[in-house]
Symmetry: C2
Subunit: 279 residues, 2 copies
């Protein structure tokens, strides 16, 4: 199969490494930087690479692996040059807004989200086997051609990913709970500590912080652009999860204020018992 990959960063580069290693496909990459194209070829992530987007127009399937804001503009530039049989997919971490915009531009679009990554970025960060045993969510709509879903599905299985197929809206609601809400919750833990007016206490808190604070604050101290992206492209679900969270936190606070220790213990027992279901 002829495969095109637009964007040769961590995700695009890693997809190329694993798909090329199967020796079943011809892979063409696109990156604006010529130096990135050269490195992608050297690293064995692609058979060939060009700065010109038109290099992928003869591919059977095109993976758009750009930042989320560039997915639709990239698709719009491509479509005048594609035959209707070309499948286009993406790797964006938010799906409903992307998929509905994309399918209005190109009927043969299949949304996807490989849920793997590292803190690094760029072609040098690309890794063999990045998607093995990790979730890869495909998000067709009512109008997505089922044969195109099958083609992507087969490629995803060849990466040894754990395949999930669901509606874009279900994907976005699920990732709001387990990925986007934790960032907001964690970030507010840090900002509230910064509100401590007593400098002696603040410095003591910094000195005494240990693994509990480190883990709970980790994702809140991550990449700011990524956090904004989650909120921006998944706004409704992120706000919805935040409102539910605030209601739960208010209930917990009230149990403490009213010294209802048995009820507080019941809540903490429930969280202790249910957390392993998410791991």
């Amino acid at each position: 199969m002829n495969i095109g990959i637009v964007g040769l960063g961590l995700i695009g580069g890693s997809l190329g490494l694993d798909l090329k290693a199967l020796n079943e496909h011809t892979i063409t990459g696109v990156s604006r930087q010529s130096s990135t194209c050269q490195r992608a070829i050297q690293r064995g992530a692609v058979d060939d690479a060009h700065p010109d987007l038109m290099a992928v127009t003869s591919a059977d399937i095109i993976f758009i692996c750009t930042p989320i804001a560039s997915i639709i503009p990239t698709l719009q530039k491509l479509v005048p040059h594609l035959p209707p049989t070309t499948i286009v997919t993406d790797v964006g971490s938010v799906k409903a807004s992307v998929v509905h915009s994309a399918e209005s531009v190109w009927a043969n679009f299949v949304g996807g989200h490989p849920m793997a990554g590292t803190a690094e970025s760029g072609i040098e960060a690309a890794l063999t086997g990045l998607f093995v045993d990790r979730p890869y969510v495909i998000t067709p709509t009512q109008s997505t051609p089922s044969t195109s879903v099958s083609v992507l599905e087969t490629l995803v299985r060849s990466l040894k990913s754990n395949l999930y197929i669901c509606a874009p809206e279900d994907h976005d609601r699920a990732v709001a709970w387990i990925s986007h809400l934790p960032v907001m919750v964690s970030s507010s833990l840090i900002t509230s500590c910064l509100d401590e007016p007593n400098q002696d206490v603040f410095q003591l808190a910094q000195a005494l912080a240990s693994s509990g604070f480190r883990d709970t604050s980790r994702v809140g101290g991550g990449n700011p652009e990524l956090g904004v992206m989650m909120a921006r492209y998944n706004k409704c679900e992120v706000v919805r999860s935040l409102k539910t969270y605030q209601a739960e936190l208010s209930k917990l606070t009230q149990l403490i204020e009213t010294e209802n220790w048995p009820a507080l213990e019941a809540v903490l027992q429930q969280t202790q018992q249910t957390r392993p279901q998410f791991l």
Copy 2:
């Protein structure tokens, strides 16, 4: 020095192991279980151990290493049998309520909090070097004898701990921020996910949860009794930190609702930049 340790669990046992290894002290342990006393002797955590609390009345300094609810009752049983020179200290993780009750019972009381531990408990969990390079907070009040503080200070330094000396109230406010608030924040993340009414989405969320959810939810899925203890004995500071947290989370939510992306990015940049100060 004659040292008494009441409670031969993880903390009491580990204190015994390190203090005894110095070959400078005679250490007497107390545990209600005879089998625990025998194991403490076998493990080299104490020179001798008895189920009778009166075994420690001739010690120069007594470490009360019981659960927090038993500190004052233990002290009350001890004091009729102690000469006024006996220093009594504790290892409770909340200080103001303990210290003020304790010093009304025994003038020669010095509050302490060695901030080390593992998920295990009991004498078998005791570890050599548990307190090395970990914070050990001593919390004297205006009325605490300074010579007694110095004695405890010397022992703490001999454990190679990082010594902090502060008011009990400052300790409690600092640990509310970095230890108790994270538990409540993290627990509410789990309970709010459980509120998802769509079972398909809920199961998808469970399947897709990864390191972000795992880390942010970790302390909320911990020991429920410990969580209740934090809230119960440090109620004012925990509620205060929760109110500040809720205000910060409301501000963040409003930035998302009003699509104020530059301001949201500024908040996330601040949390990214300031988090390393706590690590």
